[in-house]
């Protein structure tokens, strides 16, 4: 059994490190600052339009490194598998991970698997870690936003959450919305080249959506934000699905988008670099950072009025990323 599982992963990820067959893998330390991240993936359902938990796990982890302005180097992954989980499905997910890993140029060099009794894990839990390297002097952080900085968004919001919801048991509806899961490190590299010194912070708006990310940064930096609803790209199908479900796209998870807080003088050139990259074709300037002790994120509505954009309290839906 353990062999079977090991074979599935080794075949899917296949590289020199794994072939050596050790419990650990070694690599030379690159020049610059090392950056490390870890993540867990408990998405339900495991598979949804545009992707599966495997793609999410690789892309999402790579993105955490990329958001530091760093280049992702190597990944590890561990699996908690519920007894009785379909081996065919496990294979599909492993293949997805291998595919995403090769596409991104970030090999999975070590891993672990455990099987637990039926009922002790919801099918499959994936845990990952990734190391990367940031050039000297690059220290992006959520507490560096300052009044006057510009807020950039790399593309449409709500795609991933709606794609997952369209497959959840109680909410199935016909839709051609695909998850936007994507590894963003090359988009980030283009942005860093265009104006890395002017980028204060970057974050990918996953669970909690754009609203959560903007509020997190506002609170970390002790500032407010003023954004323009009309400038935020939302695909019509996503808007429609959200209307149907009574959800606000601002609160819906994304897996292939980023928010960047940049100094105003560099905003145009960084935006240009984003739009020149396929993953940033719909990039937009959505607002700016303002002075505000209360750390409110305020939005001018398409209607012309004003409202707050707040965190949602409580989960809208469990486990969509």
């Amino acid at each position: 059994m353990a062999r079977l599982i090991a074979d599935i992963f080794h075949a899917a990820f296949d590289n020199d490190w794994l072939r050596a067959g050790n419990d650990q893998s070694a690599f030379d330390v690159a020049q610059g600052r090392m950056v490390m991240t870890t993540d867990g993936y408990v998405v339900s359902p495991l598979s949804f339009p545009g992707g599966d938990i495997g793609l999410l796990a690789v892309n999402g982890t790579i993105n955490d490194i990329a958001m530091a302005g760093a280049r992702p180097l190597y990944m590890s992954t561990s699996f908690i598998i519920e007894e009785g989980f379909s081996l065919a499905e496990l294979q599909r997910i492993a293949q997805s991970m291998g595919f995403a890993s090769r596409a991104a140029g970030v090999p999975i060099i070590t891993g672990d698997t455990k099987v637990v009794e039926r009922g002790k894990a919801d099918g499959l839990f994936i845990s990952t870690a990734c190391v990367g390297v940031a050039p000297e002097g690059v220290e992006l952080s959520g507490d560096k936003a300052r009044p006057g900085d510009v807020v950039l968004l790399s593309g449409s919001i709500g795609d991933h959450g709606v794609a997952v919801m369209s497959r959840r048991q109680n909410l199935s509806f016909d839709s051609d919305v695909l998850s936007d899961t994507a590894a963003l490190h090359e988009l980030v590299a283009a942005m860093m080249a265009a104006g890395g010194a002017s980028i204060k912070a970057m974050r990918d708006p996953t669970r909690g959506g754009l609203a959560a990310t903007l509020n997190e940064i506002a609170h970390q930096s002790r500032v407010g934000a003023s954004i323009d609803e009309a400038a935020i790209p939302v695909k019509p199908q996503v808007a429609a699905a959200c209307e149907l479900l009574g959800l606000d796209p601002l609160n819906v998870a994304n897996e292939g988008k980023l928010v960047a807080i940049v100094a105003p003088e560099a905003a145009e050139s960084i935006l240009g670099a984003m739009r020149a990259h396929p993953l940033g074709a719909d990039a937009a300037r959505i607002g700016e950072i303002v002075a505000d002790d209360r750390c409110f994120v305020q939005m001018k509505t398409v209607f012309g009025g004003a409202r707050i954009v707040d965190w949602l309290s409580g989960e809208q839906l469990p486990r969509i990323c």
């Binding site: 109680n170 909410l171 009309a230 019509p236 808007a239 429609a240 209307e243 009574g246 209360r294 409110f296 305020q298 509505t301 398409v302 209607f303 012309g304 009025g305 004003a306 409202r307 707050i308 707040d310 309290s313 409580g314």
Partner: protein, 377 residues
């Protein structure tokens, strides 16, 4: 998609707002109550108040069925859910409404009660069908919009000969609440010049039932859709009625509402339900002939008959202003608990828990105004 864009068009909105500003007489104050929770939500979410002149005030009314449900009924529902044989099916909003002593359906669920969140009555029927060994009780709340789906569920249960499905009925009636508001002689109450009438309730009951209020109390009522342009247009129509001294029922939501309403739905409701002599409404007190229960012929589907629970009469937290807020007498920012002890994370009253509640809407979209106001005082 066009529908969504067209009814939220900023340009058109500014045009309607300009008309309102021009036609609102500067020496008058226009206070309009929007009765429906969906309108409260739309007004806050789109910042509609920002487009209105200072002398037009929107007062939020008791149109949120979760908000007007008395604490005692939540306590009774929790009792029902604790029964080993019962699976209680509830709409999401109800899960976190505080009952007595900090209890809630969410907490009861965490302690082991079988409580299932459902999106529609049909789901509850499906559960009853697939789990014949469980007693499925559907916690029915709402104004006339949600009563027909409950009626249809009971019909389906009949057709499928289900013996394990029943309804804990808390459906309430819009006209009764409007009458209570209009008759109230609360010295703190803001005199109302008119109502923005409920949207989907009116698709069911039609516009005819509102005529009596317009005539008896001489207040204009404009039925409005939920899109922000609908609300703005309705406000313009109300301003015109007030200026011209008219008190009529007008329908802005002509694309969905007719004078007669949905006759089939009305027929089903009359067949299955009857009026309770009286029902307690949070914030409004006892209102006669304002709520529904199942008729004797449908006793098999009446959870209160199948599983008698002790009637609970619980007091609200004395500092909680939900009652006054529901009557339109106070604003969320007037409540000492708002933003302090009472937040969406730690709600003290229903107005904060329900997404249609005034306090929740204000917290989510407009509390920067409250703090701006406090700073100015």
């Amino acid at each position: 998609m066009k529908h969504l864009d067209e009814y939220r068009d900023g340009e058109v909105a500014r045009g309607v707002a300009a008309h309102i500003a021009k036609e609102a007489q500067p020496d008058r104050v226009y206070s309009f109550m929007e009765f429906c929770g969906g309108h409260t939500h739309a007004i806050s979410r789109y910042g509609i108040e920002d487009l209105l002149p200072e002398n037009i005030r929107l007062i939020h009314g008791p149109g949120c069925p979760v908000c007007v449900l008395p604490i005692g009924r939540i306590d009774e529902a929790i009792e029902l859910a604790k029964r080993a044989d019962v699976a209680l099916c509830v709409y999401g909003d109800l899960m976190r409404v505080p009952g007595s002593n900090g209890a809630s359906l969410t907490k009861a669920k965490a302690q082991g009660a079988d409580i299932r969140m459902v999106y529609s009555t049909l789901e509850a029927i499906n559960i009853a069908e697939s789990e014949p060994e469980r007693e499925i009780v559907f916690f029915a709340i709402g104004f006339e919009t949600t009563t027909p789906p409950t009626a249809m569920a009971i019909r389906l249960a009949q057709k499928k000969r289900l013996e394990n499905f029943s309804v804990f009925c808390n459906h309430v009636l819009t006209p009764a609440a409007m009458r209570k508001i209009l008759e109230a002689s609360d010295p703190q109450a803001v005199p109302l010049e008119g109502f923005i009438g409920p949207a989907h309730v009116s698709t069911v009951i039609g516009t005819a039932p509102y005529g009596v209020f317009a005539r008896e109390f001489h207040k204009p009522i404009v039925i409005a859709g939920f899109e922000p342009l609908d609300v703005l247009q309705a406000i313009l129509m109300l301003v015109r009625q007030v200026n011209e001294g008219r008190a009529e029922v007008e329908n802005e939501y002509i694309r969905a509402v007719t004078e007669d309403g949905n006759r089939i739905a009305q027929g089903e409701i009359i067949d299955i339900f009857e009026l309770r002599e009286s029902f307690e409404w949070r914030g409004l007190g006892e209102i006669p002939r304002s709520a529904l229960r199942l008729r004797e012929a449908y006793r098999d589907y009446d959870a209160e008959k199948r599983f008698p629970v002790e009637k609970r009469f619980a007091r609200d937290n004395p500092a909680c202003e939900c009652g006054a807020i529901l009557r339109g007498v106070k604003h969320p920012r007037d409540c000492k608990l708002f933003g302090a002890a009472c937040t969406p994370e730690t709600p003290m009253g229903a107005c904060m828990v329900s997404s249609e509640g005034s306090c929740a809407a204000y917290w989510a979209y407009g509390r920067f105004r409250a703090l701006r106001q406090r700073a100015a005082e």
